[in-house]
């Protein structure tokens, strides 16, 4: 599961207020560099929730694979600054790309912030199937 996908995910368990963002407790993270397309990332920025992205990054860095976190995962600023033409510095775009696309949570759990319900992640795939009483 990439952090970009996590950005769109919310819990649908009965009793949640909003169920967003899900907490991440990763036990295994992998890193895989993918082709960087500055224009694409720039266009993607308005569609994501940056606060959640920062939140997710912090969660990943805190638990599991601390050494991986330190060597590969870039640091992101508190907010994104645009220049006069509304464009973001390319170096920052590259970091954003890395954070959104190249970090994969392979094993771990997602936790609903309201109900505490845990969702398992196995082989990179989150299992979000709810039981009948949770709907």
């Amino acid at each position: 599961m990439r952090l970009l996908t996590h950005n769109y995910m919310q819990s649908t368990v009965k009793g949640t207020e909003r169920g967003y963002p899900l907490k991440i407790e990763a036990t295994k993270i992998e890193f895989e560099a993918s082709p960087f397309d500055a224009e694409f990332i720039q266009a993607l920025l308005p569609k994501i929730d940056y606060t959640t992205l920062l939140f997710a990054l912090k969660q990943i860095s805190e638990n599991g694979n601390a050494d991986l976190a330190q060597t590969i995962i870039p640091e992101l600023p508190e907010s994104i600054k645009e220049d006069g033409e509304g464009e973001v510095d390319e170096a920052l775009l590259k970091k954003l790309h890395t954070v959104m696309f190249d970090i994969h949570v392979v094993e771990g759990e997602l936790v609903c912030p309201d109900t505490g319900r845990r969702f398992n992640i196995k082989m990179g795939i989150p299992n979000m199937i709810l039981h009948a009483d949770e709907l």
Partner: protein, 268 residues
């Protein structure tokens, strides 16, 4: 990309059919032929392709996702409630080289597709509407089915189907924010099995919630009137893009004929 190139690329998918299909989930794979048509159509409308994100709802073996990726879509999310199906889809994707990073090939940058898989199940409440009868015939079902008396099934709702909720708590079982992708593609179960009646509408309901631009979906032609009316009641425009024959080969033991053609509508 020409339609015929698309078709031949899709024909090389290693496992286009389910190996041991689950009958209660109504698992029928989308054929390369059908897939190439829907993909080509969507590409022409610029609903998929470079820069676009696509979600395959009820992906099965992943045919629609593979098609979306082949034509250069930047992001594809595959959702299914069956782990085995996701596994097959994953394998197919790998065999087709989708989502893989090519170290030497710089020209391929534009075509990289970020692929994600999600295990999730649509929360379907069975309805007693008559829309999913196997018989053909003109548009039937005006949204108020007659309650046929419970046989221990949950109380069916006979009111018109509520439009999907876009904000606040979600009720459809799919844990994704509304309008999170550009386009949703789906070949939903048709709801011919007991307890599943109307499930294709549930799929559609979730699909319109998730999509920013458009939804492409297959439904039985016999349900066309009811479908159009329902979608329009939610405030969306719907077009029947094509009428096709969905070729269902003998997959399950109870099928007596070798091939059955079901008339389906491709709607946008």
């Amino acid at each position: 990309m020409k339609l015929k190139h698309l078709k031949s690329a899709l024909s090389s998918v290693p496992t286009p059919q389910f190996i041991d299909p689950n009958i209660t989930l109504e698992q029928y794979a989308t054929s390369p032929e059908l897939t190439s048509y829907i993909i080509y159509s969507a590409l022409q409308n610029e609903d998929i392709g470079y820069g676009r994100s696509v979600l395959d709802l009820g992906c099965g073996t992943g045919m629609l996702s593979i098609g979306s990726a082949i034509v250069g879509s930047s992001q594809v999310i595959l959702v299914d409630c069956d782990e085995t199906a996701l596994a097959i889809a994953h394998e197919n994707m790998e065999e087709m080289g989708i989502g893989e990073v090519n170290e030497d090939d710089d020209d391929e940058d534009e075509d990289f597709c970020a692929v994600e898989y999600l295990l999730a199940k649509i929360n379907h409440v069975p309805r007693k509407d008559v829309s999913n009868s196997n018989k053909g015939g003109r548009g039937r079902g005006r949204g108020r089915g007659k309650g046929r008396g419970g046989r221990g099934t949950p109380t069916p709702s006979s009111a018109p189907i509520e439009p999907p909720q876009n904000i606040g708590p979600l009720d459809d079982g799919i844990p994704l924010a509304s309008k999170c992708v550009d386009t949703v593609m789906t070949n939903p179960p048709f709801g011919t099995k007991p307890g599943n009646s109307g499930i294709d509408i549930s799929f559609l309901r979730t699909a319109v919630r998730l999509a920013k631009r458009s939804v492409y979906s297959f439904h039985k032609s016999s349900t066309r009137q009811y479908l159009i009316k329902t979608v329009e009641s939610w405030g969306y425009e719907v077009d029947v893009v094509a009428e096709m024959k969905f070729d269902i080969p003998k997959l399950y033991k109870f099928h007596s004929k070798d091939n059955v053609d079901v008339d389906v509508d491709l709607i946008r």
